[in-house]
Symmetry: C2
Subunit: 320 residues, 2 copies
Amino acid sequence: MSKQEWYAGMDIGGTSVKLAFLTGEGELLKKWEIPTNRADEGRHVAKEIAASIRENLEEGAVIVGAGVGAPGFIELETGFIYHAVNIGWRDYPLREELEVELGVGVKIDNDANLAALGEKWRGAGDGSDEVLFVTLGTGVGGGIITNGEILHGASGMGGEIGHITSVFEGGAPCNCGNFGCLETVSSATGIVRLAKEALDQNRESTLHTLRSELTTKAVFDACDQGDELAKGVVQQAMTYLGIALANLSNALNPRKIVIGGGVSKAGETLLSPLREVFEHYALPRVAESAEFKIAHLGNDAGIYGAVWIAKEAREQRAGK
Amino acid sequence: MSKQEWYAGMDIGGTSVKLAFLTGEGELLKKWEIPTNRADEGRHVAKEIAASIRENLEEGAVIVGAGVGAPGFIELETGFIYHAVNIGWRDYPLREELEVELGVGVKIDNDANLAALGEKWRGAGDGSDEVLFVTLGTGVGGGIITNGEILHGASGMGGEIGHITSVFEGGAPCNCGNFGCLETVSSATGIVRLAKEALDQNRESTLHTLRSELTTKAVFDACDQGDELAKGVVQQAMTYLGIALANLSNALNPRKIVIGGGVSKAGETLLSPLREVFEHYALPRVAESAEFKIAHLGNDAGIYGAVWIAKEAREQRAGK
């Protein structure tokens, strides 16, 4: 009897590595995590991943390909990681190490790009070939799919939408060294900052009592309960995001705009003002073709995307 | 003796149709124009194009494919033109008509997209797979190449960068119905408008004598000669354009940013302030990878792009 063909997907973060086995159709078979071993500049990571995969593989199944989402700057052709601060890698041949350990072809890509691809394949992207994926977390990240492929750009920076300039006068400083980036106003951090600025003006709000431990969840909850200050903050953050996405969409003409990351849990409270701003600034034909969706796959999106690139690479090798 | 294989490229405009024969390597063999016959809602156009191609074809040569740049909204799969105002077409089966007349496969695309592809193939794009092409003419148009392919988007609107919102307060009305679009400040029309606004403030300038027949050329010439008002206008127009291109480039990460259209004749007078603004607003790694170029092919860019898609389609049919 021939063995079942499984794909291994993994998402390597600074704290843990998410691992999963999926079928070629994208059915999740098994999912688990191991801690990321950052000792010795992360040089044990590949070996430990491979050991865990072998340990979890069931009899009667065989790994036919593996895909990896990794942080840092990746040389896509070779699978080298130039530098990943939160793991310690410098010029680390991640792909080669994993291929030797696992004995199968391995594909690597940026985690945000793979999350976009995962949502396209098995999530909110509904298989569309034109997806604009936005993560609203500590920062604002993104991944762009055009003609069904990840847009990597000339040097792997494709989809870095968090550093679109949104505020031209008096913008807050951004980690990138500039001022007023989208990330400073529409990320979790940015929304909390806008709320604190509003509270500092001593305007009435239920949020004053939470001042010292303010979260985006508290802001969105207060917004749902009709708190005017919170409503103003959400409107402000979504206005900046809506304008940035409309301007991008006039160029990209996406079919799906998928919003992920922790902030996306606010669901319709976020989408409703966002859609309104977007429809005002996007060309009518662009707005008509674009559907906003909240990401479906949460933290697993990258694993699905990783298996997708592994599968695509295997099919290319087979000449399909 | 086998016949020489030629490609026919054409660019259909409201006034004239540009036609050319090229080799598969992109060498221009012959180039000419015929007037666009707009009578009877443009229904004679395809027949007249085909007659002109047959007439100009030399003995010993055969047309192996044809590509067409057309205005209006194009259904790419079928080659139908929904509506082209300046020719009179409505639901016109341009591809089918041309295929019947010419007896070869015909490919059709939007004129700005083909100009981008033409510059990529044989012009300022130097064969790069990541090109952001911008035309500064009466309006602002664009074409985007990612992963070596035209970015059409979900409904053929890809590259419509002229309607990115640039001015948020007090922006001029745009043809699209919105206010403050990039087109209102960085097109030829926009630059002249900005200059007239500045002249209305009675500031000193050599441009006052040209007030009634002001052109962008006059503005750029005055800028070169040190006219402060003209310098301010050029700076303003290029600031808006530089910010829009930097924001787009943070998402697209292009290798080449090619500036075409009539305004691009200003060359370094335009590129120098544009580059400076761009480098300020783009992420450092994005700015490093992007090279600004003035378009090389002028009005012929679309013809080159048209032959490129014809050639690509032929190779696909041959299973190459």
